[in-house]
């Protein structure tokens, strides 16, 4: 091989090497952006939005029932508080689970086919575990004794943790009125289901957390004492 040909080969190899190293650096930057810039920034925006959102209040119970049937996809109707995730964790809940309308824009989304908070049956909510603010990033940390609070315009609902499961994406029974696979679930029970991706960064399976309604109080009575204590770190 002539000296000229050898130099040219080296040159192309150098360019290829530089391109591969650049691609590696860009991929690392993407992961860093996702973990340390995008999710924290979007998550913080969702937190602030939820903190400033005031559900229109009503002293009469039927008020929510009146509006619930007319809720369009992406319409915000309540808030979810999960002290286990963070003492003051709060996110808005939008209607529906369409990604571009609710999950990617608002955060947690209510399954259209599931019941409303406090109703007999199953109030089911989905949210991203990674990306788009990752509202349910810590869903796997929920444990017995944990409570999740739902605020609507006329009520506060307290759900208590019951069980976690890993299922296939097609296991629709987990969000049915009597959640399939939930130990002790029975007709007439008032449940809540939280769903998200599993494992993180994958669409392969879903992580499911089931909770059961343990308390309900009118919105006018203010934030539940347990939530207030949790937020104050007691």
């Amino acid at each position: 091989m002539s000296r000229h040909a050898s130099r040219r080969t080296t040159s192309w190899l150098t360019v290829l090497g530089e391109l591969l190293i650049t691609a590696g650096v860009v991929l690392l930057l993407y992961v860093g952006w996702q973990l340390f810039i995008n999710d924290p920034v979007v998550g913080n925006q969702q937190q602030l939005q939820a903190e400033h959102f005031k559900p229109s209040t009503s002293s009469t119970k039927p008020e929510f029932e009146k509006i619930s049937n007319k809720l369009a996809q992406g319409k915000v109707f309540g808030k979810i508080y999960v002290p286990r995730f963070e003492a003051k964790y709060v996110r808005l809940i939008g209607q529906g689970t369409f990604q571009n309308v609710t999950l990617n824009k608002i955060g947690p989304g209510h399954y259209l086919s599931s019941q409303w908070p406090g109703e007999v049956g199953n109030f089911a909510v989905a949210a991203h575990r990674t990306s788009h603010g990752a509202p349910f990033n810590k869903i796997d940390t929920l444990q017995p004794g944990d409570e999740v609070f739902i605020e609507t315009n006329d009520s506060w609902f307290t759900y208590e943790y019951r069980q976690t499961a890993i299922v296939d994406p097609t296991d629709v029974g987990v969000i049915s009125k009597i959640p399939k696979g939930m130990t002790g679930a029975h007709s007439g029970g008032k449940y809540m289901t939280m769903t998200s991706c599993h494992p993180k960064w994958s669409n392969k399976q879903r992580i499911i957390v089931w909770l059961e309604l343990v308390d309900e109080q009118p919105h006018s009575s203010g934030m539940p004492l347990a939530l207030r204590k949790a937020q104050e770190g007691e």
Partner: protein, 51 residues
């Protein structure tokens, strides 16, 4: 590739380094504010059960 870029930039060594830093900044901003969000929206992340 980077060697060629360095040679193509005008000025002395300091000027070249400053230009390289500025270029890197522009590329980084482009990645953070345009490319990464675009890529992110293309990656499927489906947290819902397939109803």
């Amino acid at each position: 590739m980077y060697e060629l870029l360095y040679r193509l930039l005008p000025g002395g060594r300091v000027a070249k380094v400053i230009q390289l830093i500025l270029l890197a900044g522009v590329v980084l901003a482009l990645l953070i504010f345009v490319i990464f969000p675009m890529v992110d929206s293309l990656i499927p992340q489906e947290p819902a059960i397939n109803e």
